[in-house]
C-alpha cells in the first residue's frame, strides 16, 4: 500500500465524514396549542371555524455550511389516533429572518398534508424565520377531546 493510496484514502474518509460537520442544519423553536383560551363564544355560537396563531408562533433557522447552497424546507404532519378528519392545519411564512442569506416563497397559507410538500426556499444562512398557523374545522359538532399531530419540517439541499 503506497503513500499515495494511503493519502487518497484518508482524503476520501475526510470528505465522507467531515461533510456531516459542515452540512446545513435546521433549528425550530416554538409549538402551538389551541384551547378554549383562544376564543370566546356565547350560547348559540359554534367554535370559530378558523383560528389563527400568532404571526411568530414558531421560527425556523437554517445555518451551517450554506455559503454555496440553495435549500428548500418541506412540511408535513402525522396525526395521532385521536385526530378528527374535520380538522385542517394550514401554514405560511410571515418573516424573512436574519442572516447572510435570503428566503422566498411560502407567504400564502397552504394546507399541511401527510405527504411532504414544499414550504419555502432560500440560500445560505437565515435565522429566526417566522411561521404562522391556521386551524380550520374546529366545531362543537366533533367530540370534545384532545387532538394531536406532529408537524415536521425537513431541510433539503438543492
Amino acid at each position: 500500500m503506497n503513500k499515495y493510496f494511503v493519502f487518497g484514502l484518508l482524503y476520501f474518509l475526510f470528505m465522507t465524514f467531515s461533510s456531516d460537520a459542515l452540512a446545513q442544519n435546521l433549528r425550530l423553536s416554538g409549538a402551538w396549542k389551541v384551547s378554549h383560551n383562544n376564543f370566546q363564544i356565547e350560547a348559540g355560537d359554534d367554535i370559530p371555524g378558523t383560528i389563527r396563531s400568532d404571526a411568530d408562533q414558531i421560527s425556523l433557522s437554517v445555518n451551517g455550511n450554506v455559503n454555496k447552497s440553495n435549500w428548500v424546507i418541506r412540511v408535513h404532519m402525522e396525526e395521532y389516533n385521536t385526530w378528527n378528519n374535520n380538522l385542517e392545519l394550514w401554514v405560511r411564512r410571515t418573516g424573512n429572518g436574519v442572516g447572510s442569506g435570503s428566503v422566498y416563497g411560502g407567504n400564502t397559507f397552504q394546507r399541511i398534508a401527510r405527504m411532504e410538500t414544499d414550504f419555502f426556499s432560500g440560500q445560505r444562512v437565515v435565522n429566526n424565520i417566522d411561521v404562522q398557523y391556521e386551524l380550520r374545522g374546529a366545531t362543537v359538532l366533533i367530540p370534545a377531546s384532545n387532538y394531536q399531530a406532529t408537524i415536521f419540517y425537513t431541510l433539503y439541499e438543492d
Partner: protein, 181 residues
C-alpha cells in the same frame, strides 16, 4: 495510480438532498361545552288578570305584548358522540298566586345553527321541580337572536277561580337549566 485517482475524485456521498429535520407537537383541546341563553336577555313576562263584564263569564289572563318574542339558544358539545343533554325549567324565586298555573312550550328548532338540536317536550307545567322542556341535545349550536333556536310560548291558566284573590303584582323568576341526560 489508484491512489491518485482517489485524490482527484471527490466522492459525492450525498446523492439524496436531505439535510436535517425538526418537529413539534400541535394540540387542540376542545372541552365539553354547555351554554344557554334567552333572547331578549332578562326578559320579563306580563300577565294581567281581567274580570269579565258579564256575570257568569270566566276571568282570564291577558298576555303582555312581549310575551311571544322569547327564544332560547344553546351551544352544546359532548365528549361522546351519543351523549345528549336536556333543558329543564322550574320556578326560581317567587310564587304564583293561588288558583293559577303557568305552562310553557318550546317550538321545534329553527335557525342558522347545526348539529343534533333538541326535541321539544311539548307543553309542560312549570313547578318547583326541574321538568324537561327540550330533550336529546347532542353536539349542536342554535345560532343567536330571534329566529334561531326554540321559540318559547307561555300560557297562564286559572286552575281554581275560587282561590283567586285580589293582590299586588307578583314577580316570579323562571329558571332554565342545560344538564346531562
Amino acid at each position: 495510480m489508484a491512489g491518485v485517482l482517489v485524490f482527484l475524485f471527490k466522492p459525492s456521498i450525498y446523492a439524496q438532498a436531505y439535510a436535517d429535520q425538526e418537529e413539534h407537537l400541535f394540540e387542540l383541546s376542545i372541552r365539553e361545552i354547555a351554554l344557554l341563553s334567552l333572547s331578549p336577555q332578562q326578559s320579563t313576562l306580563f300577565f294581567e288578570l281581567t274580570f269579565p263584564e258579564k256575570a257568569g263569564e270566566d276571568p282570564e289572563f291577558k298576555s303582555g305584548p312581549n310575551n311571544q318574542q322569547l327564544w332560547i339558544h344553546y351551544t352544546n358539545g359532548n365528549a361522546l358522540a351519543n351523549e345528549t343533554r336536556n333543558i329543564g325549567v322550574q320556578w326560581g324565586s317567587g310564587k304564583l298566586p293561588a288558583g293559577v298555573e303557568l305552562y310553557i312550550s318550546a317550538g321545534g328548532y329553527t335557525g342558522n345553527g347545526k348539529g343534533k338540536t333538541g326535541v321539544t317536550a311539548g307543553k309542560v307545567k312549570i313547578t318547583s321541580s326541574n321538568t324537561n322542556l327540550i330533550t336529546g341535545i347532542g353536539g349542536a349550536f342554535t345560532g343567536r337572536g330571534a329566529g334561531n333556536g326554540h321559540k318559547l310560548d307561555y300560557e297562564v291558566k286559572i286552575s281554581d277561580a275560587g282561590a283567586l284573590q285580589n293582590q299586588n303584582d307578583q314577580e316570579i323568576n323562571i329558571v332554565f337549566t342545560l344538564s346531562d341526560n
